[in-house]
């Protein structure tokens, strides 16, 4: 081969060498050029602009460009949100637009202990805004719209009566009152017609949930769930409550405040511990201890908390036993007693209720209304059911059943619903057997309630 052919190789060396070189340079600069550096530059400029003394200015100029992160090993999270949101903990940035906005401090939830994504969701490890905010393929936890943020409280705290998360409380109330549990299990309580809801918030988006409530079949083809007619506010609340059900279990420290002291918790404790055995409320109850109707007037809250923790310490010689209440439980009971004189909460105490009143609560607790309608009035569609394609109402059960028959029917259920047209698919809704789910005491109350639904003034029929 001649020298010329070798010289041609040199040309190729130059071309390919330059190509590889420029690709290396390109790759490096593409990698170096990251969103977060721009945000940090802007932050540093803002700090310099705001500096009033030369010293402050010098400090601001020395702020390093670096990735900032909150390491949360217990939560298996690394939150790098503060790489761009640099002023979350600086109140002087209140009113600034994102990413430099200030985040009001949570005294109970310091950033260094909780990070950001445990409440806001999103992808904490990411360092580009699109990836971090999480609306990207293959990331199941996009950021929660702020109007649903209280859903995250439910990860670590009980929803019931949580005074710090009113939206969440409201969501749970809508859930319980709408009879969802008639078909769906949540925390082990509920029917078996629909899927369990314990993890629904981890893999469904707010949009999906909203659509699903209004028209279930539009997002889950073939769904047997009747469309729900929620008012706008209720729809948002129950969506929020569903989003709170992620099935995550908070570890260690994060699980230490499961229940936030509240009147409701105090009321449940009051019922469970059998306080009414010795004390009376509204004239009902025991007489060993003093009546509690106006105890809130007689005693300070500090005295009551101390009394629950250690009765002998503030009331020497008292016969009240020491119940080993936690600080939170003592506070909840105190709150309840203080409220006792302000509101008529005593009538909510199950042990002070009539069986029919208790039965109404049972009807609510197990979601009977989901199919049989509020107050047993029916009206929920059940395509191809012989009963006018509706789930039957319950207001006349007193005419067709004895108490024992009714009880039996609830416990055993009815798996096969008679079809109107045998050629069409079987009716999707059916009566699950509630034996082993509803407790014995509850079933008696429920039967009493159902019998009581008979419209007043009507003669007993046949």
């Amino acid at each position: 081969m001649t020298d010329g052919s070798v010289r041609k190789l040199y040309v190729w060396f130059t071309v390919l060498g330059l190509l590889v070189g420029s690709l290396v340079v390109l790759g490096y600069f593409r990698d170096e050029n990251r969103d977060w550096k721009d945000y940090q530059h802007k932050f540093i400029q803002e700090e310099i602009r705001r500096a009033s003394t030369a010293q402050q200015r010098a400090l601001a100029e020395r702020i390093p460009l670096q990735i900032r992160q909150i390491l949360l090993p217990d939560l298996n999270r690394v939150d790098r949100c503060t790489t761009c949101h640099l002023a979350v903990d600086d109140p002087s940035y209140g009113g600034y637009p994102n990413p430099l906005a200030y985040h009001p401090l949570h005294e109970q939830h310091p950033f260094e202990r909780f990070g950001c994504t445990v409440c806001h969701r999103g992808q904490g490890r990411a360092t580009t805004s699109v990836d971090a905010h999480g609306n990207v393929p293959h990331w199941d936890e996009p950021m929660l719209p702020v109007r649903y943020i209280q859903a995250s409280c439910g990860k670590c705290h009980e929803a019931a009566d949580n005074p710090a998360a009113p939206e969440l409380v409201r969501g749970q109330q809508v859930f319980e009152n709408s009879g969802c549990r008639g078909c769906h299990k949540l925390s082990g309580i509920g029917g078996v017609i629909g899927p369990e809801l314990d993890k629904v918030g981890a893999h469904r988006s707010p949009d999906w949930l909203t659509k699903h409530f209004l028209a279930p079949a539009s997002v889950t083809p073939g769904s047997a769930m009747p469309p729900q007619k929620f008012a706008e506010q209720d729809l948002e609340s129950i969506t929020l409550f569903m989003l709170s059900q992620t099935g995550e279990t908070a570890p260690g420290y994060y699980a230490s405040m499961r229940v936030i002291p509240s009147v409701g918790q105090g009321q449940r404790l009051f019922q469970q511990k059998g306080c009414i055995g010795c004390h009376s409320v509204a004239g009902k109850g025991g007489t060993v201890g003093p009546a509690l109707d106006d105890v809130g007037l007689r005693r300070s809250t500090e005295w009551m908390v101390q009394h629950f923790r250690e009765p002998q310490a503030v009331s020497p010689g008292t016969v009240m036993p020491q119940f080993s209440f936690t600080e939170g439980e003592a506070r909840a009971l105190t709150d309840f007693l203080v409220h006792l004189r302000e509101q008529n909460v005593a009538s909510n105490l199950p042990s002070l209720m009539s069986p029919v009143e208790r039965g109404r609560e049972v009807y609510r607790k197990y979601g009977c209304a989901g199919c049989h309608g509020a107050d047993g009035k029916g009206g929920v569609p059940n395509p191809n059911a012989k009963t006018a394609e509706l789930v039957p109402d319950l207001i006349r059960v007193a005419e067709g059943y004895t108490n024992d028959e009714l009880r039996d029917r609830i416990l055993k259920g009815q798996r096969e619903i008679t079809a109107l047209d045998p050629k069409r698919p079987l009716p999707p809704l059916y009566m699950p057997g509630w034996g082993g789910v509803i407790r014995d005491a509850e079933i008696d109350d429920l039967v009493a309630y159902l019998i009581s639904l008979k419209p007043a003034g009507e003669e007993p029929g046949f």
Binding site: M1, L9, F13, L16, R125, H203
Partner: protein, 428 residues
Amino acid sequence: MKAPPLKKIWQWFERTRVGRSIFRVGLPQSNLERAQAMVSSFLLHIQPAKVNRHSLRASYSFGLGLISLYLFLILIVTGVLLMFYYVPSTEQAYNNMKDLQFVVSVGLVMRNMHRWAAHLMVIFVLLHMCRVFYTGAYKRPREFNWVLGVGLFLLTLSLSFTGYLLPWDQLAFWAITVGTNIAAYAPYIGPKLKYLMLGGNVVGQEALIRFYALHVIVLPAVAGFMIAVHLWRVRKDGGLSRPDEPGDTIQQIELGKLPTNKTYGLMELARGMTPQVGRNPADEVFAWPHLVFRELLLFLLVVAMVLFLGIFWNAPLEQLANPVHPPNPAKAPWYFLGLQELVSYSAFWGGVVVPGVLVMALLVLPYMDRDRKGVGRWFPRERVVANTIFTVCLVIAIVLTTIGSLFRGPNWSWQEPWKRPPTVTEGR
């Protein structure tokens, strides 16, 4: 000709004490030095001092074997860099991928390059094998090197397959689940083999650590060794195959026929062919620069190709592996999708018989097909039967792989890729 400044500096360096201690022969100026440069360098000595012009022709070999070698080298370099950040634990592996993407400097590019180079290596090793087949280059005296090549092809697949699990995302988890299930179809040993691979009955931490050890130590070491032997055999079998090769004269000296009452120098024992024997010197050129420079150029080209892919296309990463949420359909890595497609018709035939017969056929091929006609030319008329059979098998494999990759939807039902429903996965 006036030497350019860089060359001058180099020549000065060669003359220093240090320079002379490193390079026995400097930049060669004469033909003698060109030959010496090849023989005296560790990296170059595996190649001859002079090569046949035919071997330099890009249209003959397309450099496919070399490209495969270069991809292997790129994989080792990027792989070692990835090892600095990777912890083979089900708790950490996926997070390591995210950190590579979001905080490690050029971490994402390294991972992309590793991924694309791995896919390319599977393709180029296969293409290399096709080239060797279509030119009849597996015939005597290169039979055993073909067998080594088949082994290297299987090793390449194993390397890719073991690496597939390491990101510990849904793609990895289910591809390995499906892949090891195919292996379990083998009679008698299948289930045991799967258990051995996974260290259990399902993909989990034990499988991850096994795949990791195989991927970063065992398989690369074995592959590196076999590549060395493969290259050594190329040299010892007389370089690249070519049409005018005096094939039958290439033979081992029969030691038994040599008188034993004298001693022998290496030259007398070495195999029959040196570049000079039996060849026309006009067909030969010096390996430096004609071969070595071309090899370096090809290296630059391969690096450029992989860099380009790595900079502009991201390697896939799906959700964290979730053993209770299988995607529908769950698919093996793409190079096994032909097998998965066959398995969907018959587990035994697709998972055992077909791959078993194919590998056996490849291994015994050079010993069955012994006619030396048509060696060293593409698609020679003398080899029309062999080439037709090979092409039919190849086309079937490609068609099956394409069907498995693109035309299979939920429950492995037929689905044209352009008619895919908007959301196959469950709604959010």
